[in-house]
Amino acid sequence: MSASSCYHCGAPVPAQDPPVTTIAGQSQTLCSESCARTAALIEARGLTEFYRFRDGPTNTASRRDTDSRRWQPFDRDALQNEFVVRRPDGLREAHVLLQGVRCAACTWLIENALGAVSGVKSISVDPLTTRATLCWDPDRVALSELLAQLARLGYTPVPYTQDATELAARQERRVALQRLIIAGLGMMQVMSFAVALYLGAWRDPQIEAYLRLISLLVSTPVVFYAGAPFFAGAWAGIRSGALGMDVPVALAVGGAWSASVWNTFLGTGEVYFDSATMFVFFLSAARFLEMTGRHRAMSLTGAMAQHLPRVATRLVAGQATQVGVMELAKGDRILVAPGEALPADGELLSDQASVDEALLTGESRPVPRRCGDALVAGSLNTDQVLEMTVVRVGADTQMAQIARLVGDAGARKPRLVEMADRIASWFVATVLLAAGTVALVWWQLAPERAFEVALAVLVVTCPCALALATPAAFTVATTSLARLGFMVRRRGALQNLSRLTDVVFDKTGTLTDGHPVVADMQTWRNCTADQARTIAAALESRSSHPLAKAFPTLDRLPPVSDVQAIAGAGLQGTVDGRQYRIGTEAFATSWITASSAVADNQAALRQVYLGDADGLLARFTLAEQQRDGAQEVSRQLARAGLSLQIFSGDQAGPVSALADSLGISHWQAALQPPDKLAAVEQLQLQGRIVAMVGDGINDSPVLAGADVSIAMGGGTSLAQHSADCVLMSESLLPLLAARQVARRTLRIVRQNLTWAVAYNLVALPLAATGLLAPWMAALGMSASSLLVTGNALRLARLPQIRPTSAQDSALPAEPVAACCKKPAGAAS
């Protein structure tokens, strides 16, 4: 690192008198006093090793955060009740989310520095989740002091409560691991005895009986502890009348074990302890992999909910007090310091602010917000102290809703999965029937082999691949897309997404970024520009239409009432006791019978008209920008052979201008919402699979009607509700990734289904004719399950969508502040 950048944080060093400190015997230049303090602290604790091993520049916390007074609210019992565990030995334990943890070096630094503080019993940091578990003695040190210490090291702490689902997931993983190891170790033991028995090493019947007894002993916990989920699943399936794949598994395992016990005590026939244990082990392994994928999905959504701070600064009569977020209510005025996350959804009261909504959109960059704009809980305040009014708290916040959305998507089964379930159910019935028939036939031919052959049939044809691999593929694909900011609400959407032939875009707010500005205006009938602007702003302040953003909320708006939004036309409302309409020319002038005499000489541009009962008052000419990635997406989709169209409620001029610049040849302008729906249905009649990308209220009907609907995350909530997918990113680029992932998912599902069917077709006759021993059947079936699950897990690797042109270089960043060392496809 050169002397022009700060040794600690990497920021440029001021030209005059930069602070200098000695670190590990060498003089280093720093950018600010706070970096110097942090570096000096690290040096004083003898932890300069940190600088050798860290991945790159690290954070410093603001002076405010390093002051333990800042954290004193956390010493209050009322607040500690939320996130602190009081242990019986008098110690307390808290979970803290740390901002700025990037790599294992950070972990080391924190654990060593905090571990040396007297009163701290233990601290451990997980760099993947950036969470620390802190255990301390409340009589010797206050929590506020520890939190300040963490901040002094450069990691701003955020205490949090562990989610119940997260704890449940950890417990599930631990139990599954225990089952897996019991099954694995047990299988190895039983197998070694089985090999001895098969080889007939001991002709001595006494030793044979002994080995069988030992096998029985070892296999019993494998069957009843490790195999318990199969029996539970089978029982649940039988009770609910749906034959799942657990039924043949339970029958095979239970049957093999019971028969072996019988033969062990009678000293007759064969024993199948080896087959039973192997079956349990391989199936448990496949399920463990599937569970890992599921948990990865959960930790992602869980991480979002945890980014809300616990403490807020509430303003009461000009006095700032620290309160817990739970104590906030709608209408409270709160202050948010720079670098802090917003504790609740709300409206900005300060003139302007910039916030980073990376958590929602996946893109880390400050977005400017003006007074009156909506703010989303969990976004970071990047600029200066901002003041806001609270609108929604806790579970009502947009972020909590998104977390639920992702949960919903998991609950809804795509058609393909339902189909796989249905097929599996039939399949199971057929398998049971086949096994019964085979047993009967063999009973006639060779009664002593009947059981063994029926067992082999039961095991070899188990449709696990069918019932396990398809949901696994969808779960993994949904998760990896969520990381790109593409939330799939209905997983059936992936299926249609992969078969797309047409993509229809809405224009405003979809292909353009939805932040229009008034570029030009013209007024008539003694209406001044200021008046027109005020009336327009007053009306539009009640609208969430993207165009409303062109009219900044002024300080003093005249009273507005009776505002009605007419889809595809505009707004109507009463301002200062007078009725106005704002919107398309036809709408604004619809009160007067004579058609307007205003010549429209700027057709290529977007225009909004303001009118009252007597005629037009003003015309606003708006300019808007193309959305990030629009060029790239239209180019790549067209290259992939998809037909692109623009259906817009807008006038022909701006629509054709945009279509030209994007190279989209089909467009339809001035469409009403029903027209859009009709146009899409027309395409569908021709057998096209249509994706609709839109964002506004006026898009909701067509979103509901399209084969796949994608709503923009910044759009209206109604549009998001009728959509299959929500694009949280400001850029359109994740669309490309979504299509690729969808295609890969379907390809992998098809591969898996083909494999499962082909395997069964080959294996069933072999098993029925008695050529396969039960252990071979168990091996084959389990290997097949592992193969398809492993194949599905390949979807965790994200496709790399590289922009082909220089100006479109905004790739979506990894949204969750995971450790920098985490490889994209890490399998844990």
Binding site: A104, A116, L177
Partner: protein
């Protein structure tokens, strides 16, 4: 070959010990994070910081 009457139970005892050790490890969270420990080995713990106060 009567030795196997002794050796196999001994082996099973080892198995039980392994299972116990594994369960202990799982319950202690040893398998919760499989990534950090790999990095931790690169850190030098020799220079223990002076205790605070």
């Amino acid at each position: 070959m009567t030795i196997i009457y002794v050796l196999i139970p001994l082996g099973l005892m080892l198995l039980a010990a392994a299972v116990w050790a594994f369960f202990w490890a799982v319950r202690n969270g040893q398998f919760d994070d499989l990534e950090t420990p790999a990095w931790r080995i690169l850190m030098d713990d020799d220079s223990k910081p002076p205790p605070e106060d």
